[in-house]
Symmetry: C2
Subunit: 333 residues, 2 copies
DNA sequence: TCTATAACATAAATCGTTTGACTTCATTTC
DNA sequence: GAAATGAAGTCAAACGATTTATGTTATAGA
């Protein structure tokens, strides 16, 4: 591990001169620049970013904390973050809490200990609230994607889940469906509550009573939704339309319908939420009508807001809301 | 951003004392410890890790550089790295080059600039060789997963792809299949060459001639393999067994077979490589017989080797080779 | 020849910690 | 009661860069 001083000594100049070469600053004779570059090359010298960041008081790093890196749902978000970071000249570094709260705290602190200029975090779970508080108290530059924290003012990127759910439900109503069900997502997530609220509001506005059992608790995975739908069918209480809290939930519903020899959308129309890239499942199921979330754009916006906060001192926090967009496919044409 | 000095001043002690409290070291009276902790709490003080790492000459961070974070193939590997890092007391940080060489270099340098104690990198592509050289010259602590660099001695984690391919092919031979094809993976990856070599060796040892067209160039995705298999079927040159360079390739083959009204494994037996977690595709296709790569264990081993290099000065580099294991399912029972 | 002005070089301060050497002062030991 | 012990604290030098203020030359102009 060579230092700038060793390079300087080897060439016979002061370390400040080497620093200037390193940073492409003027004030170095061509010969000296040449010699210094050669010495750097020869010694495989790599400057120490810690020392540099310490004096510069800036890292050019954006830290991203998420529940789980290994989740297809996040791919587009990650890409959006990366691309915008690249564009604005920041390194984007990811840490994943593997859904464990203590690990998430650790990584948040990790970034706040001077290792990043700012933090982008996902706070989609209800239990994330204290973590968000923790960050707000300490980190001067922070963007929250998803999630909520009533009463606090900070940079946010959100999706109008309630509105999206409302429109999805309204579509089912407008198509003349009579027995409309909502399969919720995992209720430990904010969005599941918002989507349920949107469903209920749409039903109410349409003057349609929400019967007992019209809201079915499920989660973000296929199996549970499939099982629940099977139960409904067996009990002869099959709906003629379902609004699902997530795409995977919708696939579970469709699976149950198809396995019972019934048809989508003729017997049951299905609308999902997210527009996740389907694993070559599209071959098996009818294409899923769903509310698309612009995850890539949300990722980009997250970095944009953070950099704005970083570079414009005193900028007022901003909350950007994206509208989900209906993507019509065969499951509810 | 408070500093240790401000905390010290507020309490009326020296900064060294605060540092001791921070690090749980003895030599602080209970009252002072109490007062210092209170001041830290009140100021929401977070110590600066850069300064600490600078003087400690250690970050307790392991940097991981990979082609693409957003690739299901890597999930188990990532989990293995994370879990072992956790176990050994290191933070594991991921950067992804998005398959762009220049970005990969950037992130490698990023870690080498003193931000990590060591690097774990994936070098699975042929074109990664110069990058590996780059790292070897500069980073004293490094583990390579996959990939190769003849002539150099360093810590490595590998899979015996050639051997695995050999055994897979041999199985097809032993089952009495006569027209055996190999669909290669993307030939810009090391493993594709190794698997091809294993296939050829097994065929040779079995005394089976490898006819023209028995090696079909494809890649790691479904569509191309599907198309190639369709061509073979159309031309009446359908094999009765295929060894695929990857699971996705195998799924492409199966798709073509099934879409042509033929049966797996009766008409064509298929063996893949990787044992990727199949997306509820298993419902559609017969279960895939494949060579399982122990990716989770490989990730763990990567961190283990790195930490060993970090903590045992002068430890000789080690090369750990994992044997892929045959997982028998319906596609080649 | 002398001075004004570039053009470059250098020393020293700084960033926020840790840590080994050092000082104080109260307590124990003989 | 003096010396030894030990705990509680302080001081200042690192760590490896950047940067400012200052110092030194060389060059050109008058």
């Amino acid at each position: 591990m060579a230092t700038i001083h060793e390079i300087a000594k080897k060439v016979g100049v002061s370390s400040a001169l080497v620093s200037r070469v390193l940073n492409g600053k003027p004030g170095v004779s061509p010969e000296n620049r040449q010699k210094i570059l050669a010495a750097i090359q020869e010694a495989h010298y790599v400057p120490n970013a810690l020392a540099r960041s310490l004096v510069k008081q800036s890292t050019q790093i954006i830290g991203v904390v998420m529940d789980d890196l290994c989740e297809k749902y996040f791919f587009q978000l990650i890409r959006g973050l990366q691309d915008m970071g690249e564009e604005l000249g920041y390194n984007v570094v990811f840490c994943s809490g593997r859904s464990r709260m203590d690990v998430k705290y650790r990584y948040v602190d990790y970034f706040m200990e001077g290792r990043a200029d700012g933090i982008v975090a996902f706070g989609s779970r209800l239990e994330d609230a204290p973590l968000i508080q923790h960050i707000l108290k300490r980190a001067p530059h922070f963007v929250l994607i998803e999630g909520d924290m009533p009463g606090a003012s900070f940079n946010r990127v959100r999706v109008n889940s309630t509105g999206g759910a409302y429109r999805a439900t309204k579509r089912l109503v407008d198509l003349g469906r009579k027995r409309i069900c909502h399969f919720t997502g995992d209720m430990s997530y904010n969005v599941s509550h918002e989507r349920l609220a949107g469903f209920l509001a749409a039903m109410k506005d349409a003057g349609m009573p929400v019967e007992d059992g019209a809201v079915i608790r499920s989660d973000f995975e296929e199996p549970l939704a499939c099982q629940r739908m099977n139960e409904l069918i067996r009990q002869g209480r099959m709906p003629d339309a379902c609004f699902a809290g997530a795409d995977k939930t919708a696939y579970g519903i469709m699976r149950a319908v198809l396995e019972n020899g019934l048809r989508v959308p003729q017997d049951v129309a299905v609308i999902g939420f997210d527009d996740e890239e389907p694993d070559s499942r599209d071959m098996l199921f009818p294409g899923l009508t769903t509310m698309r979330q612009p995850l890539y754009e949300m990722g980009q916006m997250g970095v944009k807001l953070l950099v704005r906060s970083l570079t414009t001192p005193g900028a007022a926090p901003q909350s950007v809301v994206f509208e989900p967009e209906l993507v019509v496919r065969e499951s509810c044409p």
